[in-house]
C-alpha cells in the first residue's frame, strides 16, 4: 500500500558530502520511484537562503530545507525551539505523513522527535517514527566518534566517569543526565535502523533493546562492476587510493607514514592517489605533519583534490586498491560501499564498521589500526604477492538501493500492523 513518508536528515547532500545525508537522500528518491509519496526535510545553517518569517524553504519540489542551529550541542536541543516546533507542526499538517524517518538527530534537535509523536497523538494517528543511527552521538559527546579527546585513543565504552575524563570542565553527573535525557527521547522512537552490525552493537551496549534495532545497510545505486585496471607487462598492483576528507580521523597520515617503511625498490613503483580535501580545516600541527609527508614523498603522491560522486567511476577505474586507514571506528563508510560496487579491494583498519564490511584476505585486507608499519607490510604483500585477483573475484556487490529500500518498507509494514 502506498505510503506518505517524511525523511528528516541533518543535512542536504547538495550542500554537504557526508555519507549519512546521501544515504537518506537516496532512500527518498527510491521511495518516490517506488510510488510512495516521499518528502525530504534537511536542516541547514546557511543564513543567506532563509526567508523572513519561516525557517523553511523548498528545494527541488519535495525537498524542504529547514534552518536550524543548536542551542545546546551537549543535549542536542535547538534554538528558537518554540518557533521551529510551531512551523514543524504546520509542515506535518501540510504533508500528513504516515511514517517519519529520522536520519541523525544532531542539528535537527531531539525535540522534533517528540513533536512528531505529539502530532500523531493529536491527530489520533497510529503512525510510526523511525531513526537511523549514523554515528554515536547519543553515546559520545566527542563528535559522536568514540575517540578520546585527550589523545584520540579509541574508546570502547561510555560511562559517566569515563566521559568526564574527556571533558574535565563537566562533571560525571552531567553525563548521566545526558544519557537519561537522550533515552527519554529514544523511548518515543518505534524502531531504529543501523547500517552496520558494529554500530548496532554499540547502541545495544549503551542500552537500546536489541530487538529494537534492525541492521539495514545503506543501499547503493546499481552499477556494473568495473574491470580490473589493465596491467602492462611486468607492472604490479601498486596504485593505492585514498578517498575522503583529509582529517585526523580518516588517518591520512597513517597512510603517508607507511611509505617510510617501504623498501626502495617497491617505493619506486608505488603510487598514492589522494582524492579529497579539507586539510586547511585541521589544526596547525596536523597540517604541518601532512604537508611535510606530502613533500617528502612527492614523487609517489598524486593529489587530486575533492571529487563529485558521479566522478567516482572514472577515478576507481585507474586504481588497484582503496585504502581506508581511519583511526576511528567508522560505521558504514560510503567509500567502502563504493569500492565494493566498483570492484576495488580495500585495505582497512581492523576496527569497527570497516572490519565488518571488509573480510580479511577474502575481499580485502585488514591492518593494525593506526600502525603505519603494519600497513606498509600489507602494502608490500599486496604488491608482491599475487592475491589481487582472488580478492577481486570475491568482492560481492553491496546491497543495492532497491533492496535496501524494500527492507525498509517491509519494516514499515511490520510496524503498521502493530
Amino acid at each position: 500500500m502506498a505510503k506518505k513518508i517524511l525523511i528528516i536528515s541533518h543535512a542536504h547532500p547538495a550542500f554537504s558530502k557526508g555519507g549519512g545525508e546521501l544515504a537518506a537522500y537516496n532512500f527518498y528518491k527510491k521511495y518516490n520511484e517506488m510510488g510512495h509519496d516521499t518528502y525530504f526535510m534537511a536542516t541547514h545553517q546557511k543564513e543567506n537562503i532563509i526567508h523572513g518569517d519561516t525557517p523553511f524553504s523548498t528545494f527541488n519540489e519535495k525537498e524542504i530545507l529547514c534552518y536550524s542551529s543548536m542551542h545546546d550541542p551537549f543535549f542536542n536541543t535547538i534554538t528558537n525551539r518554540g518557533v521551529v516546533l510551531n512551523n514543524f507542526n504546520e509542515l506535518l499538517d501540510y504533508i500528513r505523513p504516515d511514517i517519519i524517518h529520522f536520519h541523525h538527530y544532531i542539528n535537527i534537535g531531539l525535540e522534533l522527535i517528540r513533536s512528531s509523536k505529539n502530532w500523531f497523538e493529536k491527530n489520533d494517528l497510529d503512525s510510526k517514527i523511525f531513526l537511523t543511527f549514523h554515528e554515536y552521538m547519543a553515546i559520545c559527546a566527542h563528535n559522536g566518534q568514540m575517540v578520546k579527546t585527550t589523545n584520540n585513543k579509541l574508546c570502547y565504552e561510555s560511562s559517566p566517569i569515563e566521559c568526564a575524563q574527556c571533558f574535565p570542565e563537566k562533571n560525571s553527573g552531567e553525563f548521566k543526565l545526558r544519557e537519561l535525557y537522550f533515552k527519554s527521547y529514544f523511548e518515543q522512537i518505534d524502531h531504529f535502523v543501523s547500517p552496520s552490525h558494529f554500530l548496532k552493537q554499540r547502541y545495544v551496549e549503551w542500552g537500546v533493546e536489541d530487538s529494537k534495532i534492525s541492521v539495514i545497510e545503506n543501499g547503493q545505486e546499481k552499477v556494473l562492476k568495473l574491470e580490473k585496471r589493465e596491467l602492462r607487462d611486468g607492472k604490479k598492483r601498486s596504485i593505492f587510493a585514498f578517498f575522503g576528507r583529509i582529517n585526523i580521523y580518516k588517518g591520512i597520515d597513517v597512510l603517508l607514514e607507511a611509505l617510510d617503511y617501504l623498501p626502495e625498490e617497491i617505493l619506486l613503483h608505488t603510487e598514492i592517489q589522494i582524492h579529497g580535501s579539507g586539510l586547511e580545516n585541521e589544526n596547525e600541527k596536523f597540517q604541518k605533519k601532512v604537508n611535510a609527508l606530502m613533500k617528502k614523498f612527492r614523487k609517489n603522491i598524486k593529489y587530486f583534490g575533492a571529487y563529485e560522486p558521479h566522478e567516482l567511476k572514472n577515478l576507481m577505474q585507474n586504481i588497484d586498491w582503496v585504502v581506508m586507514p581511519s583511526i576511528w571506528w567508522e560505521n558504514a563508510p560510503l567509500v567502502i560501499q563504493e569500492s565494493l560496487k566498483y570492484g576495488r579491494p580495500l585495505i582497512v583498519s581492523n576496527i569497527g564498521g570497516m572490519a565488518e564490511q571488509v573480510e580479511h584476505l577474502k575481499n580485502g585486507i585488514h591492518f593494525q589500526c593506526r600502525n603505519s608499519q603494519d600497513l606498509a607490510k600489507w602494502m608490500i604483500k599486496s604488491i608482491e604477492i599475487d592475491f589481487y585477483d582472488k580478492l577481486y573475484d570475491n568482492i560481492r556487490e553491496p546491497i543495492w538501493i532497491d533492496e535496501a529500500a524494500n527492507k525498509h518498507l517491509i519494516l514499515y509494514e511490520k510496524y503498521e500492523k502493530i
Binding site: 525551539r81 518554540g82 516546533l85 525535540e111 517528540r114 513533536s115 505529539n118 560511562s159 559517566p160 566517569i161 562533571n171 560525571s172 553527573g173 552531567e174 553525563f175 548521566k176 543526565l177 537519561l180 535525557y181 527519554s184 527521547y185 523511548e187
Partner: protein, 580 residues
C-alpha cells in the same frame, strides 16, 4: 610661568567640635598665614595652635626631599557647629608673584588605621602640645576605626552593628601597655558576651608583635531598641587604667552579610557550642527569622496544561540554581502515563533573581513539548529550601505528597506508583524514602541515621551510610529507619500539615529532612526506607549556596546545634530502639 604646587588632602573629619585635616603640600614657603577655612558661609583663620607640620616619609621619598624637610601637615581647628556643614573649602595662597589661590574642597570621611598610625608616629616624635592636648581628651572617640590611646590602653573598634534591634555585634581589638589583659564591658547592656580573638593583622611591627590576642568580638543585648543609638564600652586593665568609648551603632546590610560577619571571628572548636548556647544561637536564629518575616512574599501560581482533578499524588520540586532540571525531569516523567492525569506536579522557583522573568516562557514551551501538566509557583525573593517546600505544598491537592529534589531522575517507569503501593503496606507510616544512586550507580542514599560527633561536642550529626560505595544488594526490602533524605520523601499531606511542614529554623537548608522525620516520630509515626524504586540523585548538580566554605561549615554547625537542642532525647531513644 607659575609653578603649580603639588598637594594632597589625605583625610578630614569632624570629631567632637574639631575639624581635623591631614595632608601634604610641596611648598617651601608653606606657612600657616596662608591658609583659610571656609565653612559654608563662614571664614576662619588658621592659627598657630591649629596647625602642625609633619614629616611625611612617603611624600619626601616620592618627591626626593631631605629628611629635614616637612611637607605634611596636621590641621585641627575647634569649630562650633550645630550640624555637619555642607561645604568646606580650604584656601591657600602661595607666595608666588601672582599669589595663586588654591581652593581645596574638603570631603569628610573616616580616618583609616594608617592615618592614625601616621599621626601617632608624629605625635610620639614631635610632642607638640596641641596634639598632646588633643589626644589627652579621650572622649574624642570616633565611631569606627582609629585607635585612641590613653597612655596605657589602646583600642580600635572595627564593627558595631545592630543585629536584631535590641542586640549588637561588636568587633575590634584592645591591649594595654601596662598589663596583658584588658577587660571590656558594654555599659547599660542587659547581658553581653565578649570573646577573645587571635588576629594576624595585630602581629605587625607597630604593635610589637605581642598583641596578636588583643582581638575581641562580642554580642550585647539591651533592654531597648538600639538602632541609631550609641553604646558605651569601658576598657580597663589590671592596673586600674580605663577608657570609655562611645560608639555609634550602625545598621547592617542584610542577614547573610551580617551572619557572615558575626561568624567570621568564631573558631570552630570546642568553644563554638558554648558561644551558641551563650547568645550566638538565639541571635542568629532571630536574625534569620526577622529577615524572612520582613520579606513581603505573595506567591503566584500558574497552571500549564489542564488541571489534574483528584490527583493520586502531588509532587513538590523546588528549583534553585538551575531551571533546566525542569526540562530533563518532565522529559523523563512523561514515559509514565500516570503523569498525564494522575500526578499533580508542582515546581517552585526559589531563585527569582536569575529566573523570575524568564521562567514562564520556559515553562510554556516545556508544556507544549512534553505535554504533561504541571504547576509553577514563583515569588520575588529567595526563601530557602524549607519555605519553598512549604509554600509549594500549600497548593498540593492530593492526599499524598512527594517532596522531590530537582536533580532526582527515574530509572524505570512506574516509580511513583511503586512508591504509593509500598506506602499502603506500611504500619503507621510517617515518611517513606527509597534508594538513590549516583551517576556511577553507587549508593547515594539508602536511608539516614544519627551519630554523636566527638569533634562537635558530641552533638548529633546526620549520617548517610555507604555513600559512594557499590550497590551490591539488589534485593527488595522495606525497613524502619531513623530518617530519610528530603531528596525523595513520600508522606501524607495531612501529616505534613500536622507537624507544620518543614521547619524554617534551619539556616540555608540542611537538617530539615531529619527534623521532619523527628517531628513525625514525635507523633508516634514511623520512618521507612524501601530498596525500590531506585532513582538517580545527581547530587553535585545542585548549585552550592556557599561560596565561602568556612562560613558554610559554621552554618552547618549552627544547624547541627539547633537539631540537637530540639531533639537530643528523641534521637537518643530512636537510635537505641532501632539499633538495639
Amino acid at each position: 610661568m607659575t609653578k603649580k604646587i603639588m598637594y594632597s588632602i589625605d583625610n578630614a573629619q569632624f570629631i567632637d567640635g574639631r575639624l581635623i585635616i591631614i595632608g601634604w603640600m610641596i611648598d617651601d614657603t608653606l606657612s600657616i598665614e596662608d591658609f583659610k577655612l571656609k565653612i559654608d558661609a563662614n571664614l576662619y583663620d588658621i592659627k598657630h595652635n591649629d596647625f602642625v607640620k609633619i614629616y611625611r616619609k612617603d611624600v619626601n621619598r616620592s618627591h626626593k626631599k631631605e629628611r629635614s624637610e616637612l611637607y605634611g601637615f596636621f590641621l585641627m581647628k575647634e569649630i562650633d557647629l550645630e550640624t555637619i556643614p555642607s561645604e568646606i573649602i580650604l584656601t591657600y595662597n602661595d607666595k608666588s608673584f601672582l599669589r595663586s589661590k588654591y581652593s581645596i574642597k574638603i570631603i569628610l570621611k573616616n580616618f583609616t588605621l594608617e592615618q592614625y598610625k601616621l599621626i601617632l608616629d608624629e605625635y610620639r616624635r614631635m610632642k607638640n602640645p596641641a596634639i598632646d592636648d588633643f589626644f589627652k581628651d579621650n572622649s574624642l572617640i570616633e565611631d569606627t576605626k582609629p585607635p585612641m590611646q590613653n597612655k596605657s590602653i589602646v583600642y580600635c573598634i572595627d564593627y558595631c552593628i545592630n543585629i536584631n534591634g535590641d542586640s549588637i555585634f561588636i568587633s575590634g581589638w584592645a591591649y594595654s601597655n601596662d598589663s596583658n589583659k584588658v577587660t571590656i564591658k558594654a555599659l547599660d547592656s542587659e547581658k553581653s558576651y565578649f570573646y577573645a580573638q587571635a588576629r594576624d593583622d595585630l602581629e605587625e611591627e607597630d604593635f610589637n608583635g605581642k598583641h596578636k590576642h588583643a582581638g575581641f568580638f562580642a554580642i550585647a543585648k539591651f533592654k531597648h531598641n538600639m538602632q541609631n543609638q550609641k553604646i558605651t564600652l569601658e576598657f580597663s586593665d589590671e592596673f586600674d587604667n580605663h577608657i570609655t568609648a562611645h560608639i555609634d551603632v550602625k545598621n547592617s546590610s542584610g542577614a547573610k552579610e551580617l551572619s557572615q560577619l558575626m561568624l567570621k571571628p568564631v573558631e570552630v572548636d570546642a568553644g563554638f557550642k558554648n558561644k551558641l548556647e551563650d547568645i550566638y544561637g538565639v541571635e542568629l536564629s532571630r536574625l534569620w527569622e526577622n529577615y524572612y518575616n520582613s520579606l513581603d512574599i505573595v506567591p503566584e501560581i500558574k497552571n500549564y496544561g489542564s488541571i489534574v482533578e483528584n490527583p493520586k499524588l502531588s509532587i513538590v520540586v523546588p528549583l534553585y540554581g538551575r531551571i533546566d532540571f525542569m526540562e530533563y525531569q518532565t522529559s523523563m516523567f512523561l514515559a509514565d502515563d500516570f503523569f498525564k492525569n494522575e500526578v499533580e506536579l508542582i515546581y517552585v522557583l526559589d531563585d527569582p533573581d536569575k529566573f523570575y522573568d524568564i521562567i514562564d516562557g520556559v515553562a510554556r514551551e516545556l508544556y507544549k513539548l512534553n505535554q504533561i501538566p504541571f504547576k509553577l509557583v514563583k515569588y520575588k525573593k529567595n526563601l530557602g529550601y524549607a519555605r519553598a517546600n512549604n509554600i509549594g505544598s500549600r497548593f498540593a491537592t492530593s492526599e499524598m505528597l512527594l517532596l522531590l529534589n530537582s536533580d532526582v531522575f527515574p530509572i524505570k517507569t512506574g516509580w511513583t506508583q511503586r512508591l504509593l503501593d509500598i506506602y499502603k503496606t506500611l504500619q503507621k507510616p510517617g515518611v517513606l524514602g527509597c534508594k538513590l544512586l549516583f551517576e556511577d550507580d553507587s549508593i547515594q542514599h539508602v536511608g539516614m541515621s544519627f551519630k554523636r560527633e566527638t569533634s562537635l561536642n558530641e552533638m548529633w550529626v546526620n549520617v548517610h551510610p555507604y555513600k559512594g560505595m557499590p550497590d551490591t544488594d539488589k534485593s527488595f526490602f522495606v525497613k524502619e529507619i531513623p530518617a530519610v533524605t528530603g531528596a525523595c520523601m513520600l508522606l501524607e499531606k495531612k501529616n505534613y500539615d500536622l507537624v507544620g511542614g518543614l521547619s524554617e529554623d534551619y539556616v540555608l537548608g540542611d537538617f530539615e529532612d531529619s527534623d521532619l522525620c523527628l517531628k513525625l516520630m514525635e507523633q508516634e509515626l514511623k520512618i521507612y526506607y524501601s530498596s525500590e524504586p531506585e532513582l538517580y540523585h545527581l547530587e553535585r548538580q545542585s548549585q552550592s549556596l556557599f561560596d565561602d566554605k568556612d562560613w558554610k561549615y559554621k552554618i552547618t554547625f549552627f544547624n547541627c546545634w539547633q537539631q540537637t537542642l530540639k531533639w537530643d532525647k528523641r534521637i537518643q531513644s530512636t537510635m537505641e530502639r532501632l539499633n538495639g
